[in-house]
């Protein structure tokens, strides 16, 4: 027996995490709320829905040249939207790049939060532990911004967090301390992933739920690129001219059997 909480098809209705889709959710729940339910297994509060909507908008970085989006466009160039969409999502489930990485950033903050313990209100203790944590790690997921000085999404999130009064919540404060030390000691900018990890931990999500949630609500960027690329079916996406390729592999050689046959 495999238990499932996700859904049940009933005669005349459907249940989604225990809620009637047609009598409870219809007209009440938003798309991002449904995605929240997919990751968290429960309906969001109004506050959570607001946070998820803000995260979805902030994470909308949809330039089709960005690596995973580009790979989705390559696959979709044969006309299949969903093939491209699925392909672009597949490499996301890891700790290096993309929305799934948010959970790994969150895990860093969970570890730091555990060290800080009940000294969370003590700014000096948080700062000292953030410094020690940073120095104990070779790499902190969420610190470091490629190609630019600041992650514009983090800057926007910071403003939004201040405007909504979420800046005194524990994980946000911890990430502020960690980000400050990363800037000072490592000259590292703060990536959106660290900020999002903090915001979502402060909502009560676990790191794994955060990976799933941020990826789920970030679907618009993958879908939009795959859809457009499938519609375009651009020949230059399907194949670049030969002269766009530099070959650096082994030099031409003859196989032993070909040599033998020649003799």
């Amino acid at each position: 027996m495999i238990p499932t909480r996700v859904g049940r098809h009933l005669l005349g209705d459907n249940l989604y995490f225990g809620r009637s889709t047609l009598h409870e959710l219809l007209g009440e729940e938003t798309v991002s709320g449904l995605m929240f339910m997919a990751a968290m297994g429960r309906r969001p509060t109004d506050e959570e829905r607001q946070v998820v909507d803000a995260v979805a908008v902030i994470m909308t970085s949809a330039d089709g040249r960005i690596w995973p989006l580009k790979l989705g466009r390559l696959v979709a160039s044969y006309g299949g939207t969903l093939a491209g969409w699925c392909a672009s999502l597949l490499p996301m489930e890891g700790p290096r790049l993309g929305p799934w990485t948010t959970g790994f950033s969150a895990q860093e903050l969970v570890e730091l939060r555990a060290v800080v313990g009940d000294r969370i209100a003590d700014d000096d203790a948080v700062t000292a532990e953030a410094r020690a944590f940073f120095e104990s790690k070779r790499r902190v997921v969420g610190l470091g911004v490629p190609l630019r000085e600041h992650d514009e999404r983090y800057v926007a999130l910071e403003k939004w967090v201040l405007a909504t009064g979420r800046d005194r919540l524990p994980h946000w404060r911890i990430q502020v301390a960690l980000a400050a030390h990363g800037r000072r000691a490592g000259n590292l900018g703060t990536n959106i992933l660290l900020g999002l990890g903090a915001v979502l931990l402060d909502l009560g999500c676990t790191p794994r739920q955060i990976s799933a949630l941020v990826t789920f609500i970030n679907q618009n960027v993958f879908a939009a690129n795959a859809f457009e690329a499938a519609n375009q079916s651009a020949p230059e996406m399907r194949k670049l001219p030969d002269d766009c390729v530099d070959y650096v592999g082994p030099a031409p050689r003859e196989s032993p059997r070909a040599m033998l046959a020649r003799r």
Partner: protein, 233 residues
């Protein structure tokens, strides 16, 4: 509202290579694979299994290694319908998927299956890199069927290469991993590639043999799924 008339951003400001880099296949009308002429040399003198090994290892195998690799591929090939990859491909067929969609489904699931199988044998792969002092417990034959399968693999490999690991009382999967390792696929990623390659045609064959759209002939209750509103899944 469009405040950004200038569309240049960080991706435009950075320096990037202007060309793709090929490390295995030469572009152009007469492709070479790791340096060998595909159409004038490999196609005439080598089997597909040998070309696969060349692709994955960068070097042509000996004839004995190639025969052992073929044996391993054949042992890896069965992808029965009750295992998730073929089951998923069959379901794709039932959903009236195109062949490419079915292959995509099968390939993803086979790749996941291979990833897990290889991960479960990570300790074994490390052991295989040197003299075998001890076989990890999870690699030992679990029952008579397992033991018999490993023995059949040893028999099938006769006259190819010596795989010393097969003298141990191994499970079928551990014996297969040891054979792939002996064929030069010494890393997890290459081993996973070989497993997917071996199984994809079989999974597809099962899917293609399924009538498209046969929803009512599919056992939807298998395995049983029970709906619960318990808070913890």
């Amino acid at each position: 509202m469009n405040m950004l008339k200038d569309y240049s951003g960080p991706l435009d400001a950075a320096e990037w290579p202007q060309r793709l880099t090929a490390r295995v296949v030469t572009p152009g009308a007469a492709p070479r694979l790791h340096g060998y002429d595909v159409e004038g040399d490999l196609a005439r003198h080598y089997s597909f299994a040998e070309v696969v090994l060349l692709s994955l290892t960068g070097e042509l195998p000996t004839a004995e290694v190639a025969r052992a690799f073929e044996v391993a591929l054949k042992f890896a090939a069965p992808a029965p319908v009750h295992e998730a990859p073929t089951h998923a491909a069959v379901l794709a067929r039932i959903c009236v998927a195109s062949t490419s969609q079915m292959q995509g489904v099968a390939a993803i699931a086979l790749a996941e299956q291979a990833r897990v199988l290889v991960a479960e044998h990570r300790a074994w792969i490390e052991v295989l890199s040197g003299p075998i002092a001890r076989v990890p417990r999870e690699c030992l034959a679990a029952d008579l069927d397992d033991r018999a399968a490993a023995r059949r693999l040893r028999v099938a490999l006769h006259g190819t290469i010596d795989v010393p690991a097969l003298t141990h009382d191994l499970s079928r999967a551990a014996a297969l991993v040891a054979t792939l390792y002996a064929c030069g696929l010494t890393t997890a990623d290459r081993m996973e590639c070989a497993l997917v390659l071996a199984r994809l045609p079989v999974a597809m064959a099962e899917a293609l043999a399924t009538p498209p759209g046969s929803h009512r002939q599919y056992p939807v209750q298998l395995p049983a799924m029970v709906y619960t509103e318990d808070s913890a899944p």
